[in-house]
């Protein structure tokens, strides 16, 4: 396991924020996962040693929390919200569209490792469902034909260009 200097510095900066070292576990796991895509057994051992814990203390977190991974997602990870308010707006159909367009079942990674799809629980933007996240960006009302177009733009890597879709984050007003 090899972490960048930046990641190592960040980890050293995170630990003293907490009165007890163990509290830093989840935030360090995030740093490792952001960099390596997942948290391997080796990574668990490394983090545990860093915090003076046993590897199981880290591994039990990785296996509990839905967003922590033992194997990486694809380069572009697509999350579709499954929970009731989004489902009422057609998120099951949206997820099927993505499955068809990306050629993968939800919960899986494409063979070339480029895309992965997850039909996950509430993304807390229920008023504008179906909500879709690509990486860290949130897209609202991805429904019906829009979902088809969205998937095509995603595949041609044009999602954020002029003809594409504007994310919730991009829509925030600047100063």
């Amino acid at each position: 396991m090899k972490l960048s200097e930046n990641a190592l510095d960040l980890i050293d900066e995170i630990i003293p924020r907490y009165p007890q070292k163990r509290s830093a576990a989840l935030m360090i796991i995030h740093v490792v996962q952001d960099e390596l895509g997942c948290v391997s057994l080796e990574a668990c051992e490394w983090i545990a040693q860093k915090l003076g814990l046993q590897p199981i203390n880290i591994q039990e977190l990785v296996t509990f929390y839905p967003m922590l991974r033992e194997k990486p997602w694809g380069e572009k990870h697509v999350r579709v919200c499954r929970t009731l308010p989004c489902a009422l707006k057609g998120s099951y159909a949206t997820c099927k569209t993505f499955e068809r367009k990306l050629g993968i079942k939800e919960g899986h990674v494409s063979e070339d490792g480029k895309y992965s799809l997850e039909f996950m629980e509430c993304l807390a933007d229920c008023g504008q469902g179906p909500v879709v996240m690509v990486g860290e960006s949130t897209y609202e009302n991805v429904q019906g034909e829009d979902a088809e177009r969205f998937a095509e733009l995603l595949l041609s890597d044009k999602l954020n260009e002029d003809q594409g879709f504007c994310s919730y984050e991009q829509n925030l007003t600047g100063e």
Partner: protein, 479 residues
Amino acid sequence: MRTKDFAATNKISLANEYHRYNLKSVIFMISKKIAKEKRIILKHADDPNYSNKIGCYLRKGGYKMLEKSLKLKPEEIGEEVLKSGVRGRGGAGFPAGMKWKFLDRKSGKPIYLICNADESEPGTFKDRQIIYKDPHQLIEGMMITAYAIQAKLAFIYIRAEFFEGAKILERAISEAKEKGFCGENILDSDYSCDLVIHRGAGAYICGEETGLIESLEGKRPNPRIKPPYFPAVLGLYQCPTIVNNVETLCNVRHIMKMGGDAYAKLGKPNNTGTRIWCVSGQVVKPGYYEFECGALTLGEMIYDICGGLHPGRSLQAVIPGGSSAKVLRADERFTGKMKDGTEFDWGIEDIPLDFDGPMAAGSMSGSGGIIVMDDTVDMVQAMANINAFYAHESCGQCTPCREGVLWMRKITKRICSGHAREEDADLLLSVANQIEGRTICAFGEAAAWPTQSFVSKFRDDFIAKAKHPSDEKSQLQLI
């Protein structure tokens, strides 16, 4: 769907809409006496000229209340909050001032403040608006609260799906630190308190305050049993801890601005202040709307504020307070007596939107997430969808919950896949009844209430599935 082309003109159209909407609601008010939105927390959230940077916040009088509060004694702030009657906005509706009173100040242990920004109740998206659009309001509310309870350190526990939200907060905290609103010797006073962002990792149970504390300690978020583990006494690291919701903490700032007594005049007695209602599901204009508590009814919210249902549809059911709240059937009558003795006889549309109204109707206002379902929805599928959520999110600590939610998912899914049996309705009820009241935390109730209410209120739909397994009630797939 907003395209980027649209987004370029978005700010202008947003501004126009802003004014037009205000005008429209005034006309509404005169003609139909519908209450107008009263935005206190979300005052600037959708103002196209407002950003989440500190400059903007300061220009609107930001951090003035922190300055004022630091000149008061900590217990004076507690008194104002108690007088305001503000109830927790996270779901349980417990008076915040009372919660602070329970704090064990004599133990000599450090005191901690935690902001619950896990916002995980399906149907709720209010805290997102505050975090992304007005983060300094939250920080100011937190620092006032931290001073009032004399916290040594404060945390914001934010759900991991808010990637950008966590970055916005990180930036806002460093801006606040630079200006001396947070950290060492706040505004040159003797009081110091640091603020730390802690990201969750997608677990609903972390919204439960003791589960959140376990998570913050670096453990699996298995909730703790109360008593003895009331956070105000034995919280983070077994020290006295206050856990408050994002909206509640923002309210603290406004309580200090108005004074507790003036704040208590907003809304209704025992239901003070404003609330942000999040409306989702099948209405024309879903969204977040801030109103004084009790200023309007559920019917006015759906038909006047949210533009009603889609053409040709009729109302079938509403979940009034996030997916854990008991469902209300459109043709139900709700009768009984309020605590003050007044009798009520309501249809679904007459239920007042405050804390006590939905409670009197046998449900709850919870986190303010109103989920509207019209007649195209297959209620058994909706039930199955909710059950799948709880089955995914149970932490697995208590047997009745861990096993019960899985069986509820399996049974409802089987019903929806054409293998329903007539006894299923009773079987589901029996499972739900054996979860409720038999678990360490309130997740058990949160998982049981939907099943109990769906099955008893829509029993015919469950029976019909057994009699005519191949009939499709709806094109809309929910499971």
